[in-house]
Each structure stands twice: as structure tokens, then as C-alpha cells.
């Protein structure tokens, strides 16, 4: 076929420029580490990558939520642990108060000691979490939940149970309300302790008074045992929530790994392949440039003298 001089130049240039643009694209892929530079490179992969990124982002947010839940529940657990110790110490005080050899004055000392314990207990029930919110106040996190009154303590919080989304389909309570922990199930630890203090402060000159003291101590013992049960039940729930959070963390981490892997398979570059393509392209480009120069330098005019 007859070929025009223009075509010879045009073909050479367009092939070289094709090769150069392929090289530039490879270079861009290598420098970004991404196989998909724009959605047009792989429309299905690009939208799939978006889905995975969202799933990964949501998953990482659940992990952050779990950290917050763990922090709250951890503080609750340690607070309740102090409450447990306090109740146990009140119980041992009660045992000493039952000693018939004690005088009214000596029981009065015990009452004063218990008064301190009651204040300490109210203090614990009014604990705040790491963010400065009252832990046992339900939704009323800015209101001190327990106020001391003559018959014990009044609950000013509400029954709201604060939930946190700790996994796609799991909302977990991260706080328990003070009325259920300290005043639930027919017991009221503040009233029990206030009654006990009043009892120990009351002198026992007559046998009837002594009988009333004994009966009062039995009632107080039952009350404190119920209070201890309530606190221990709550601690058991908190403990099992913490366990569940650990399990969810393990799942969450493995899911995250899986997402990262799928995302990488979807959009990341196969470096070995890309680099071998670069050197292949380079060979072709060099050959194309050399042959272009060789072909275009051939001219009959060179031989006309």
C-alpha cells in the first residue's frame, strides 16, 4: 500500500503518545497504590469499595462506642465494688452492735460510725462517670440523684436506662438507675441504715427496749442482706455486659480485618504486576522511539547530490 509521509509521522507519534499515556497511568497507580483511580476504571469495584468503606466506618464507630461503654461499666463496677465493701463492713458493725454487753454509749459510738458509712454510701450512689455525668441518675445525668432526708435518701433521678449502640443489632445499657440498685425489690439501703442508726442511738433501759433492739437488729440484718443481694445482682449484670463487650470486640476486630482485606482486594494495586508492566511498556516505548527515528531518517533526498 502507498503510504503518505504524513501517515508515517502520524502513526509514529500516536503510538508513542498512547504508550506514554499508559505509562503515566501506571505511574499514577503505583504512586497511589490504587488500582481504581476513578470510578470509570472499575465502576462495580468503585461502588463496592464505597460499601465496604461505610461498613468499615460503622464497624469502627461501634468499636469506639464499646470503648465508651466499657469505660462507663468499668467505673460502675468499681463503684459497686466499694458499695459491696461498705455494706459488708456495715454488716460486721451490726454483729458487734448485737453484743449484749455493750452499753448505750458504746452503741452510740457505733451509730456515729454508721452515720459516716451512710454518708459515704450516699456519696458512692452520687458518683459521676468519666464525662462528669451522674452514673445512677437515669437520664437526669446533671442532677445529683440522691439527697439525704430524715428517713434515708430521696431519689431525684428517673427510670431512664441509657443505651449505647455497641454492635449493629445490639444496644447495651451502660448505666443502672439508682432507685433499682439501692432502693429496688422492696429494700432501701438508705432507710435500713438510717433506721439502724436511730435504733443504736435509742437507749435501752427496759427489757422491752432490749427486745426491740434485738428485733430491730434482725430487721436491719435482713435489710442489709437484701441490699447486698441487689448490689451483687447488679454487679453480676455489669460483669456479664463487660464480658459481652469483650466478645463483641473480638468479632469487631475480625470483621475489621475482613473489611480491610476485601477493600484491599477491590481497590489496591498488584505491585508485582504493575512493576512488570512498567518495564514491559518501557521496552516497547524504547523500541517504538528507536524505530520511529530509524524510519523517519530514511529519505531519498539524502541520496540526491
Amino acid at each position: 500500500m502507498r503510504i503518505s509521509t504524513n501517515t508515517i509521522y502520524q502513526n509514529g507519534i500516536s503510538r508513542i503518545s498512547d504508550l506514554q499515556s499508559e505509562q503515566s497511568k501506571l505511574q499514577q497507580q503505583i504512586s497511589t497504590g490504587r488500582r481504581i483511580l476513578t470510578p470509570a476504571d472499575d465502576p462495580v469495584g468503585a461502588s463496592h469499595a464505597l460499601e465496604i468503606q461505610q461498613a468499615q466506618s460503622v464497624n469502627s464507630q461501634y468499636a469506639a462506642n464499646r470503648v465508651a461503654a466499657q469505660r462507663n461499666l468499668g467505673i460502675e463496677e468499681s463503684t459497686l465494688s466499694s458499695v459491696t465493701d461498705l455494706i459488708v463492713s456495715v454488716q460486721s458493725t451490726m454483729v458487734s452492735a448485737g453484743n449484749a454487753a455493750l452499753s448505750d454509749t458504746e452503741r452510740g459510738y457505733l451509730a456515729t460510725q454508721l452515720q459516716g458509712s451512710l454518708d459515704e454510701l450516699i456519696g458512692l450512689a452520687n458518683s459521676k462517670d468519666g464525662a462528669g455525668a451522674y452514673m445512677f441518675a437515669g437520664y437526669q445525668t446533671a442532677t445529683q440523684p440522691f439527697v439525704k432526708i430524715i428517713t434515708g435518701a430521696q431519689y431525684l433521678g428517673d427510670a431512664g436506662q441509657r443505651l449505647v449502640q455497641v454492635d449493629a443489632s445490639r444496644q447495651m445499657a451502660v448505666a443502672d438507675t439508682g432507685d433499682s440498685v439501692f432502693q429496688g425489690n422492696g429494700q432501701d439501703v438508705f432507710k435500713t441504715m438510717t433506721d439502724l442508726i436511730t435504733l443504736l442511738q435509742t437507749p435501752t433501759p427496759t427489757p422491752a427496749d432490749k427486745a426491740a433492739l434485738t428485733a430491730g437488729l434482725v430487721a436491719a440484718d435482713t435489710g442489709m442482706q437484701a441490699a447486698l443481694d441487689s448490689v451483687l445482682t447488679t454487679r453480676a449484670m455489669v460483669g456479664s455486659r463487660l464480658n459481652e463487650l469483650d466478645a463483641l470486640d473480638v468479632f469487631g476486630q475480625s470483621r475489621d480485618l475482613q473489611y480491610a482485606q476485601t477493600l484491599s482486594e477491590t481497590q489496591d494495586l498488584d505491585y508485582a504486576k504493575a512493576l512488570s508492566q512498567v518495564s514491559q511498556q518501557q521496552t516497547i516505548l524504547t523500541a517504538a522511539q528507536k524505530s520511529f527515528v530509524a524510519i523517519t531518517s530514511l529519505s531519498l533526498f539524502d541520496f540526491i547530490r
Binding site: T38, P39, Q54, S57, V58, R162, V164
Partner: protein, 544 residues
């Protein structure tokens, strides 16, 4: 006798000179665009009968012709117009493709960050820092929406200005063709010889014209009559019929290509009557892709705003008041055609976000019935009266419509550019579930956060990010398809050009050969004349 030889030699000398000229002209124009190589057509001169036989009288140049094939030229212009149409469309789409390319700068991370901040606030609803982060990420989401919407608007403006300059080129080519028609006719009428270079110039203008729009050439003697689109005359003989730009009657800010009809009134030409070339590609892009992408992105803004607001309004803010609007977006835009003669106004309101399609609509009144056409797929529904509900939209019209009146409805086209945050006070964020429940109440925060993964869009089939993913995939697919087709058309074009060039193009080696050949012919002719002179000398010496 000797004088005859002298004149034979002279004719050969003259012919070789012309041929060397033609060869030189070819060499000089080797890289002139549109140049067709020329050849001198040589024939022997009329022989003379001397009784004993016809004695040749030398040679003559009968014509100088260009080597040109109409068929190959038409193939080139067709390939030119197709490849320019597809590559223009592809270039425009690539802009949007690039806009969506960066997964860290697109819309997806802004949506994710916003919902992350709501999740974080749900773990600490009373904390004003957490609430502030909700507002800040909402602002970031709004500015991402606005930024993307504005870029798409900008691309629409660019289409306007590119169309304007293309139409300017088309008109200027039309005038050049008309002038060349005139010049070629005059040149041809002098002695019937073809004015090769003028003809090349005209064919080159046709080729340039076909880059802008599909053009059909009908030869009328020496003149070209040029038609564009569906047989609209652009050039007839020496008369041109220019195109112009006009404002769209229904779409403010949009320019359309129009044509002055016999009454001198501009008539708007749709994309169906303007195919091929840059103009065809731009119109296709605007009609089939840009409008759609703008509305789909807007739909996402409208859906996030409506569904988030709905849940937000069910909640309670820090002061114990019911939540208000969190986001705002523009209501559906309705524009009456400037050609309407009636006084009716149309109102369109969104009644069901999940049923929205993201398409634009045209409402037309024919005197008795109202036809609502969905513009992205062309489905039309006719109603005897309004109001009617269609695709989650309530269409209503006031009295006073006249037959032929039409309205363009873009329900979500401004959903991205107008997307903004309605509240600026952290205490107005309604994270609580019931009034006066306290700062720890996060019930509505949990419900708001859950919207991220709920299927609220496109007939409750997909989430916000799912809908965005569909948009990205749609843009990617279309861009990819256009790039592949554009490459194929470019390949076709270069093949058509190569075969056209194989006939008409100049080959320098061939010209070098010709140069040698005609140089030798010239030298030989000179020798003939020298011999004639020597023969004359012989006669003169006889006398001496």
C-alpha cells in the same frame, strides 16, 4: 524539419518544467492540512500528416489534477464527526468521574463522619463538645454537598459557553464554504480547469465543520450544498443559514442552539436534530448525563434532609422542646415555559421521599388533559385533572392553563447546592426521646444514628450511601463506556485518515523519484534541442 525538432524539444522542456513545478508544489505542501497531492496529466501533441505518415509534434500538459476520492473523504468526515461527538461526551463525563474519584474527598466520608459524630454524641448526649461535633460534621457534609453541586452547575455553564463557541465556528465555516463555492465557480468558469487548491481548502473546511456537527454535503455542479442535523440547510450555493444561541424557554440559565426560520424567529433545535461532533456530544452529555447526575445527587440531599428532619422533629432538644428542622433544602423547582400563553401556575411538592426517582418531569396541557412526562426514561401519563400524585410528588395547577402550555419540573436538581444546616445552637439538637427527661436521654440519638444504615431511599431499597454508590457506579459505567467507544471511534478515524492519505497524501520519497525523473526528462529535452541546433549548423555549413 529542424525547426519542428526544436519545437518538439521545447514542448518536452516545457512539460518537464510544469511537472517539476507540480512536484515542487507537492513537496512544499507535504504537511499542509487537507492538501491532496497533484499530478500533471501529460499527453502527446496532435501528430501531423506528412503524406508518408503522422509525425508526432511533441507533448503537452492537458491538466493538473488533485488525487482525491469523494468516498474516502466522506468516510473521514463521518469518522471525524462520530469520534468528536463521543470524545466530547467522554471528556465531559471524565470531569464528573474525577470529581467522584477520590474516595477520601467524595461525599461518602462526609456522610460517615456525620453519623459517627451522632453515634459519639449518643454515648454522651449531655456533653456540649459532643453536640458541637455533630454540628461541625453536619456543616462539613453541607459544604461537601454544596461544593459538588456547584461544580456540576459550573460544568453546565461550561457546556453553555462551549456550545456558543462551537456555533460561532459552525457559522464561520458556513461563510467560508459559501465564499469558496463562489471562488471555485468563478475559477472553473474561466477555462474549465479545476482550482485544486481552492477545492482542497473547501474540503478541509467541511472536515473542520464535521468536527463541530454532523454535516452532509450534496454537490451541485461545482458548488457544495451543506446540510446539518435532520436536513437543515447550512449552506446552499453562496447563501448561508446561520445558527444562533437562545435561552431555553423553560430552563433559566441554559442556552440552546437555535435556527432562524423563514419568519426570522428563532426555533430551538433539540438534541435529536443536532447530532454528531462537539455540539452533538455536548447536547447528549447535558441531556442524558449531567441533568441526571445533578438530580440524583440532589435526591440524596433531599432524602437525607427529609428523613433526618422527620426523626429529628420526633426528638427533644436540651431545653425539652420538640426538635425542629435540622437540614434545609430547596423545594422542587417549577418553571413555566416562556412560550406559555395561559396564566396558570403549577406547584409541585414532595409527599413521599422514598418514592422519589431523581428524574425531572415535564407537565403539558393540551386543552383537555394534562400529560406528565418523566424525562429520564420518557414515560408519560395523562390525567384529565390535577392534582395528582406521581413518584412521590404532588402535582397541582391553578386555573388559567391554555392548550400548549408546559412546565419543567426539577424536583431535586437543587438538592445539593441548597443543602444547608438549619440550626446553629448545640442545644437545639434533639437527642432526647421525651420532654423533660434529662440530659442523659439519648433515645433519639440512637434512632438518628440508625438512619445511616436504614433503607430510606429509592422505594425503601437502599440507604444513603447505597444510593450514592449507585450514582458513582452509574457515572463510572457511563464514563468507561464512552472512553472505550471513543477509543474505537478514534481508531476508526485514524484508519479512515490513513486510507484517505494513502490516496491523496504526499510521499516525499515518491516526489524525490519524480523530481529525478522530470529532471532527466528536462535534460533529455534540452539535448533534443541541442541536436536540432547542430542539425541546423550542418545545413548552414553546406552553403559555406
Amino acid at each position: 524539419m529542424a525547426s519542428n525538432i526544436l519545437s518538439i524539444g521545447q514542448s518536452a522542456l516545457a512539460a518537464a518544467q510544469v511537472e517539476i513545478n507540480v512536484t515542487g508544489h507537492n513537496i512544499a505542501n507535504v504537511s499542509t492540512p487537507g492538501y491532496s497531492r497533484q499530478v500533471a496529466i501529460q499527453s502527446s501533441a496532435q501528430a501531423q500528416n506528412f503524406g508518408y505518415g503522422y509525425v508526432g509534434q511533441g507533448t503537452q500538459i492537458t491538466a493538473i489534477q488533485r488525487v482525491y476520492s469523494d468516498l474516502l473523504a466522506v468516510q473521514v468526515t463521518n469518522a471525524q464527526t462520530n469520534s468528536n461527538e463521543l470524545n466530547t461526551y467522554a471528556t465531559q463525563m471524565t470531569q464528573i468521574d474525577n470529581l467522584l474519584a477520590d474516595s477520601s474527598a467524595g461525599l461518602a466520608p462526609a456522610i460517615q463522619d456525620f453519623f459517627k459524630s451522632i453515634q459519639a454524641a449518643s454515648t454522651n448526649p449531655g456533653d456540649s463538645a459532643s453536640r458541637q461535633s455533630v454540628l461541625s460534621t453536619a456543616q462539613a457534609l453541607a459544604s461537601r454537598f454544596q461544593g459538588m453541586g456547584e461544580l456540576l452547575d459550573q460544568i453546565g455553564q461550561d457546556v453553555n459557553s462551549q456550545l456558543t463557541s462551537s456555533v460561532y465556528l459552525v457559522n464561520s465555516y458556513a461563510q467560508q464554504i459559501a465564499k469558496l463555492n463562489d471562488a471555485i465557480e468563478i475559477a472553473q468558469s474561466i477555462n474549465g480547469n479545476p482550482p485544486n487548491d481552492l477545492m482542497d481548502q473547501r474540503d478541509q473546511v467541511i472536515s473542520d465543520l464535521s468536527k463541530q456537527i454532523k454535516a452532509t454535503v450534496v454537490q451541485d455542479g461545482g458548488k457544495y450544498n451543506v446540510f446539518i442535523g435532520n436536513g437543515l440547510p447550512l449552506v446552499v450555493g453562496t447563501q448561508t443559514y446561520p445558527l444562533s444561541m437562545a435561552n431555553s424557554p423553560t430552563d433559566a440559565g441554559r442556552l440552546e442552539v437555535s435556527y432562524l426560520n423563514n419568519n426570522g424567529k428563532p426555533t430551538i433545535l433539540g438534541s435529536s436534530s443536532l447530532s454528531g461532533g462537539t455540539i452533538g456530544g455536548l447536547l447528549q452529555f447535558r441531556e442524558k448525563s449531567l441533568d441526571n447526575i445533578q438530580s440524583q445527587l440532589g435526591l440524596l440531599g433531599v432524602a437525607i434532609s427529609a428523613t433526618f428532619n422527620q426523626q429529628h422533629q420526633l426528638g427533644v432538644d436540651s431545653a425539652g422542646n420538640a426538635g425542629g428542622q435540622f437540614f434545609t433544602v430547596a423545594a422542587p423547582s417549577v418553571t413555566a415555559s416562556t412560550n406559555n400563553t395561559g396564566t396558570a401556575t403549577t406547584t409541585v411538592a414532595i409527599s413521599n421521599v422514598s418514592a422519589l426517582t431523581g428524574s425531572n418531569y415535564r407537565l403539558k396541557f393540551d386543552g383537555t388533559n394534562y400529560t406528565i412526562t418523566r424525562l429520564d426514561n420518557g414515560t408519560a401519563q395523562t390525567f384529565p385533572s390535577l392534582p395528582q400524585t406521581l413518584d412521590g410528588l404532588d402535582f397541582s395547577i391553578t386555573a388559567g392553563a391554555v392548550a400548549g402550555d408546559s412546565f419543567l419540573i426539577k424536583p431535586t436538581a437543587q438538592g445539593a447546592t441548597s443543602f444547608s444546616v438549619a440550626i446553629n445552637n448545640v442545644s437545639k439538637i434533639a437527642l432526647g426521646g421525651t420532654p423533660s427527661s434529662g440530659p442523659g436521654d439519648n433515645r433519639n440519638a440512637l434512632l438518628l444514628a440508625g438512619l445511616q444504615t436504614t433503607s430510606t431511599m429509592l422505594g425503601s431499597t437502599t440507604s444513603y450511601e447505597g444510593a450514592y454508590g449507585q450514582l458513582v457506579s452509574m457515572v463510572g459505567n457511563k464514563t468507561n463506556e464512552l472512553q472505550v467507544m471513543g477509543k474505537a471511534e478514534t481508531e476508526m478515524l485514524s484508519q479512515a485518515v490513513a486510507s484517505q492519505q494513502s490516496v491523496s497524501g504526499v510521499n516525499l520519497d515518491e516526489e524525490a523519484t519524480n523530481l529525478l525523473r522530470y529532471q532527466q526528462a528536462y535534460q533529455a529535452a534540452g539535448k533534443v534541442m541541442q541536436i536540432a541546433s547542430q542539425m541546423f549548423d550542418v545545413l548552414l555549413h553546406l552553403g559555406g
